[in-house]
Symmetry: D3
Subunit: 227 residues, 6 copies
């Protein structure tokens, strides 16, 4: 439950070996494999193209215009974590810049996912520290009001529990609850294998209409061809 | 007229030779040359910079969260076509990914213009298959409800008839009705020639105020200079 | 005061030597150094990444869909200026393209900041003429109604007086009133020096919690740790 | 086709007797009866609740910030018309106020549908002249650039041909092409009759699940009940 | 956890007696009393002013453009419930109209909260069935794809578990987890009592600066008065 | 200039007698009379229809999610003032509710104009205390960080200096600098007189085309009539 003013130190992280199998599959595949749940809204965009990361969530709840809790979160980061930051109401401020990125990176964080703004994006790009955010803003924040660390948060429309697996790439960000990861990895692997074959057929000019046997259901649904 | 559940197979495509003359002119020039009509709204952005394509429209009308008709459209693609997809109401889902792109490319499509979301954007970029879309989203779609193929559609605020010429580049997407292309090509060529000269003058420091003879109309309109 | 139909020729530009010291500091640092004032809204984005410019403002007030005053403004540009264009109401049109850019560049302008749309972005990128804008649009404009040049304008939420220093980079755009620049340069220099040291500590794994002595105020504010 | 600078005086209006049968059915019913086509985007809202109008479209294409063509359109209004105004690019200006409303009303117009802003809304409300618009804005416009009257326009995402039937109420605005109205009136009447019966059953506690015989298809689709 | 294709029949509803004490307190007070958690985003607006309801949540997860699950949900409604509907991705369609409202009302529902569109708003207003929604749209939906009923959903940024208390009024919508209601009722009652006294003082001209003893902390924070 | 942490007590208010002449003219007329300057963006809407107020501005600069300065501003209110509140970055929080309204009203304030959210809107409506705001939100704010009172602010895109006249009605909000009010009152009075006559003519069926002598300029601009 959402509580303000608390830091949960003992969180149960999803199995790192499994999480590391999710990331290379990519967001779209993981999302499909889990039955299409856990996707953040599409306004979450990477600050530079090409990054693809997976990790376990350290969650943060911030107040608008106040990044105090990101400093508290830094201490809770373990190597392989991804920090996921939500705000109690919409904010475009730049909550995170190169100093925090230096600290997060030193602690082993692989990325930041923040439903708000980020700044120093050129330096972050040079550092190779990826951030998925709602926007870029040079506006700094104060350090005045307590939020929380490692409580369940709703970030960009998705519920994230501390320790959940996070996968992010150019298509967006998806959250995988620990209980679903193994199943998702298996489903995604099957799907991937399957897709290679489909891709070859489609590249050879075979139509999805035939490959997926859609002609009959389309006719049944009433589709009419007019010459 | 908008009809649901139909596929028009026999469409009249704009003359390919003319269409291929439009693309290198670019969207801004074509739009000017046609008398400033047919531009899609500026939220339509390319998934990667630098693409510049022209082609003839195969149109698709989709339902929100349902990409069934894109599979139906694939069969109607001829080499040199650009698929233009509209949705019956606003949707951010990822209607199109690398499998459909493989199929579209194999059929000869040059691009997709979609007033909705697209996914697998890294792979699409690697494949060199350009897409102009409203957003990027990993969320897949169902295949449950009939739309139509090759009917007139309103895509991102512009009316597109099947067979119309489409030009897309970093500035956006413009639709050129077949009847206007020849005139537009001529006007654009004249314009381009004219612009080279203007560009040289402006680069040499000549002011537009003088080159366009604006000083008199400005004075007449009442412009006052204050020192 | 906002007046329509006037061009102020004699404006007092901020000291160029000082302005040129601001730009390399970057938008985020300058904004902090001035006490967090003068930032434009985060929807203002560069048309290509990596540009970092500083200059003195030539301001323009435009009408929606009408770029006449940009031609008038060109004559007022001195080397080292940045043109800052506001519109009397929200407009997504493409007010500025490669011809105007050629002219602005020939006059010595370093960039355009426009609370509206821009076009020919590929050419502008090739020319290396940076623009920060609300959007990209191929839609051209008319030249019919007088606005003003070098009056105070509100651009993307920030008040800009003619002659003010402007700094723009991947983080956005900030306005520095002449009176504050010297102080800002000094504060930013101090800040930068200070940050190098902080960065080294954070990179070595020191926590911001300790470096900024946050533990006591956090405890005082009531933060609870739960294991 | 979109042409600028023309006024079509001889338009073919949908049969007034039929149009007048559409309005009382309401937007949602008409939209359903036509097969779900022709609806404007939901951002089009009435300036006061409770208005329900139908009429034949006089179309206008405006430039952003320029209402000249609304004056030209006034002359083309016949009693029973609804003026439908589109703009060549997004604009929030107040293109229409109490003077134009007085003129439109005197000419017999029943309403204005405008994909832009309107002003003097208190007076318009007192006059009982309904407007569906994108927004309310006190900002006036200039009269400088030609648009057109009675050409096909795309208004809030819907294609409107001059003479089409327009129905507008608290649910939004729908366009009915002349060719579909008779069929739509019949379908809507059947639907309405049908709905009265359904409403009575539902009010008595019968479930849609049973009334629409959904239980079997739901089970077939795999729905599971968990106690 | 989010599962598709399931209906949980046995949910644990918050204590009705307590829930009924929450509603008259209003959304702002309940939100404060719970420690500022559980508020939906401010784009959720009532279709008519003045409604103030409280109830227990029956949750629904819908697909964009598909309202099938609302029919399934109807059967799960008990008197005193409020239906809370989320969609798997953003959708503006009109998922709910007067027939469903008749059914929901007959089952004892007090309101609908839907992160999407609603239609027939005039009839709903006449029926006195309140809806808080993202928008109004006449566009109907299909019944083709399974969602779920009574699973945890994220609606307009807030996590809602089946059975949670919901309070909605002109200020918006708040979710109160069962575990917090008793405490919230008590806190709100204390707060209300307290506010009556404050209100009287403020109405008499006493300043909040004095009543809340803010002068010292303001001075300490560095506030300067300039005459 | 924007300074944080200051309260200017000695501001020069526009002449109350003149300000009180502006309000009944309405926002659209005042805006026209001043030469179309000073209008706030159209997203600023009244919480209830029908209010029309004028007053002198007490300005406030707030931080996102922090309403401390509204309490400081209360002390600076004189009868006939309108409080104008800007925020250093976009915020949807509910900064103002019935307690502050009670205090503001007791001090003589006529309205609040806030580029953010407001709450307790039903109570404010019952109290007859009008607010123009960006949105309605139940989310409360903290009191932690200093802003300023009575400095120049940019509110919803308009520059407001302390003491400026503010007029607000159903069409929006306009700012009239003290120096322009007398001229604006005179211009508006002339305009109003003029409009009564025009209104009568238009109501009698005279066309604006004739009344404004537009036929010749339209023909000159190239307008073609097609039968």
């Amino acid at each position: 439950m959402t509580e303000l003013g608390v830091v949960h130190r003992a969180i149960k992280r999803a199995d790192r070996t499994l999480v590391d199998k999710l990331a290379p599959l990519g967001v779209a595949t993981v999302h499909e494999a889990m039955g299409r749940i856990g996707l953040m809204k599409p306004y979450m965009r990477p600050i530079y193209p090409g990054a693809q990361v997976g990790g376990t969530a350290v969650t943060v709840l911030l107040h608008p215009g106040d990044n105090w809790m990101l400093h508290v979160a830094a201490e809770q980061i373990e190597p392989g974590d991804v920090v996921v930051a939500a705000v109690t109401s919409d904010s475009d401020d730049g909550f995170f810049g190169d100093l925090l990125a230096t600290s997060f990176k030193a602690r082993g964080a692989r990325a930041l996912i923040i439903d708000a703004g980020v700044r120093d994006v050129r330096t972050l790009t040079e550092m190779g520290f990826p951030v998925w955010s709602k926007c870029v803003s040079a506006k700094g924040t104060v350090k005045a009001t307590l939020g929380s660390v490692n409580i369940p948060v709703v970030c960009a429309g998705a519920l994230v529990n501390p320790g959940d697996a996070i996968v992010a790439d150019d298509d967006g960000v998806v959250v995988a609850p620990a209980a679903l990861i193994e199943k998702a990895v298996a489903a995604a692997a099957a799907r991937e294998a399957n897709e290679a074959d489909k891709r070859a057929k489609l590249a050879a000019g075979v139509l999805g209409l035939d490959m997926y046997k859609m002609r009959e259901p389309l006719a049944k649904a009433g589709l009419k061809y007019i010459d």
